[in-house]
């Protein structure tokens, strides 16, 4: 109860900060504009002539690649730059509670933006009879993918007090997770690595797991994958923060 209360306190403060500064608004507006543009203009939503959201969900990984690190880069670097981390960690709150609280607040912003795309679901419903189960799975997968990218940003944000550095490192880390299963990458690896290594790297690809959700398959394996990525990244965040304090 107490630790939950502490997490909630931290999350509330973070949300307060997001909405007091332009960060939340800019993120939501840009996300919606870009997702609309890609879905309708590039993805050919209407030309497909099918009642599905494939042309909508296929852009999510690429948008998250740049937009999520932009939200996540400030999580800890801002805290260190302003010195407020000294306030935060001398309060009767564990570092772990602070990490989870901050993560959940940022994730809530991403979830809110995702929620605001619901009109597109209504559009599809109006125009045809889509597989609502698949659409629901797609949203779940998208939310998990956003969380995974965000947890990686949290980790890179803890590494540097410079937000630009944290942004770039985060984008590269997310990109490598997205591209891990991409044929050109696996082909490149095949030239020198043993097959089991290639497969292991490909298994880390968020795309295969994300695609499973898009097909409407709610497999516990994919679910666990994303949860593990988040747990690992947040745990690493705590290790990095402890490392800073230990000097």
């Amino acid at each position: 109860m107490n630790s939950f209360g502490n997490i909630l306190t931290i999350a509330k403060r973070e949300l307060n900060g997001y909405f007091a500064s332009p960060v939340a608004y800019v993120f939501i507006v840009i996300f919606l504009l870009l997702i609309g543009f890609f879905t309708f203009m590039v993805g050919g939503f209407f030309d497909r002539g099918e009642a599905s959201l494939v042309s909508f969900f296929m852009w999510h990984p690429w948008l998250y690649l740049f937009l999520v690190p932009a939200v996540g880069m400030r999580l800890w670097s801002e805290e260190r730059r302003q010195g407020t981390i000294e306030l935060l960690l001398t309060m009767p709150i564990t570092a772990w509670q602070a990490i989870v609280g901050k993560f959940l607040a940022a994730w809530a912003i991403l979830a809110l933006s995702l929620l605001l795309t619901l009109p597109i679901v209504l559009t599809v419903r109006y125009l045809g009879s889509p597989d609502m189960g698949a659409i629901f799975c797609g949203y779940v997968g998208s939310l998990l993918l956003a969380g995974a990218c965000l947890s990686i940003s949290s980790m890179t944000s803890a590494m540097s007090r410079n937000q630009v550095v944290s942004f770039i490192v985060s984008v590269v880390a997310c990109l490598s997770l997205i591209l891990a299963g991409w044929p050109p990458v696996t082909k490149m690896l095949e030239q020198w690595a043993s097959p089991w290594l290639v497969e292991a790297v490909a298994a880390f690809s968020v795309m295969t797991h994300f695609d499973a959700f898009q097909r409407g398959v709610l497999d516990s394996k994919d679910f666990i994958f994303f949860v593990l990525v988040m747990a690992f990244s947040l745990f690493t965040t705590s290790v990095i923060i402890r490392g800073h304090r230990a000097g």
């Binding site: 306190t9 509330k12 307060n16 900060g17 007091a20 010195g83 000294e86 306030l87 960690l89 001398t90």
Partner: protein, 321 residues
């Protein structure tokens, strides 16, 4: 209330704090003195649980900071150096957050916020965003955060740094007032502050304690402590010297200035702890010889002299090695 034992902190090969031990009781205001880079901030950061020590023990109240950090941190209010704040919040929002993080909920929280705002004179800026505040207000907002849960222990890293003279005065009297009921540690490199607010002072240099005592005890170590300044009208230096030279309590007499109107001299005592005996002896002589006495007082010794003597000699030693 606070008990520090053999506290040591290494940053890589560099030792920032080297085996510091001290205790502070309730009702004490401990001034932490030392040149920049002496290890004051590092020590405070360890005591507040922000950074773990390389070795040593920190006991706050009945809790060990390393074994039970959450319980120990509850007892402490902390004002870090440069008063960091969440600049995107309003003062009220920030204090509400601080109160909530300290476990205060509902009406209790509102009462705590209102009390802190009143104590720190923040009424005028309550709903202002923190990044629009002046330095004085920023400092007070951060101080308000430190006292929001009425902690028994208050730790402040340079609480008067960057304030104007009026604000400094206000802050010192606040510290003194709170010190009656709390345990307070604050660091400073302004020596007059020690006199104005502390019941005890610790001087650290190169990560070690080099002096520990009440401000009066420290001052007694000064070169000029215990000397008596005497000014007599209508007397020549030679006449003064002639009268004072046979005096047993005086070691020597140095003339400060001689004018046609009179003479001013500094008389050094035979022993430092004369407790005003020298001044009394001089007064008797003055009465007996019917001098027109204009001034007579025993010098207390000056803290900055002591501070320089302690820390400079150490720095010099280090430099020679």
């Amino acid at each position: 209330m606070i008990k520090i034992q053999d506290l040591t902190k290494n940053f890589g090969p560099k030792t920032a704090v080297n085996g510091i031990s001290f205790t502070v009781e309730r009702g004490e205001v401990l001034g932490f003195l030392g040149p920049n880079g002496a290890g004051k901030s590092t020590t405070m950061r360890m005591v507040t649980g922000f950074i773990p020590p390389t070795s040593g023990r920190i006991q706050t109240g009945e809790y060990d900071m390393l074994a039970q950090p959450i319980q120990a941190k509850r007892l402490i209010g902390y004002l870090p150096e440069n008063a960091p704040l969440y600049s995107d919040m309003t003062v009220h929002g920030f204090l509400s957050f601080a109160a909530e993080a300290r476990g205060l909920r509902g009406g209790e929280r509102q009462k705590a916020v209102a009390r802190a705002i009143e104590l720190c004179f923040l009424e005028r800026v309550v709903h202002q965003s923190i990044d629009t505040l002046s330095k004085g207000y920023r400092h007070r907002a951060c101080f308000a955060q430190a006292i929001i849960h009425d902690p028994p222990i208050l730790i402040m890293d340079e609480p008067t740094d960057g304030l104007d003279p009026n604000q400094k005065f206000e802050m010192r009297s606040l510290i003194r007032r709170m010190g009656e009921k709390k345990t307070i540690i604050f660091s400073t490199h302004i020596l007059e502050e020690v006199d104005a607010a502390c019941t005890r002072a610790i001087v650290i240099d190169h990560g070690r304690i080099v002096a520990n005592g009440t401000p009066a005890e420290l001052k007694r170590q000064a070169e000029g402590a215990g000397t008596v300044l005497i000014r007599v009208a209508g007397l020549t230096a030679a006449a003064l010297r002639q009268t004072l030279d046979p005096l047993a309590a005086a070691r020597k007499t140095a003339i400060v200035e001689e004018t046609p109107g009179g003479v001013c001299a500094r008389v050094f005592p035979q022993t430092k702890d004369s407790d005003g005996a020298l001044a009394r002896a001089l007064f008797e002589i003055a009465v007996k010889s019917s001098w027109k006495l204009e001034e007579l007082h025993t010098e207390e010794g000056r803290l900055d002299e002591v501070f320089r003597a302690i820390t400079l000699s150490d720095t010099a030693k280090e430099g020679r090695q």
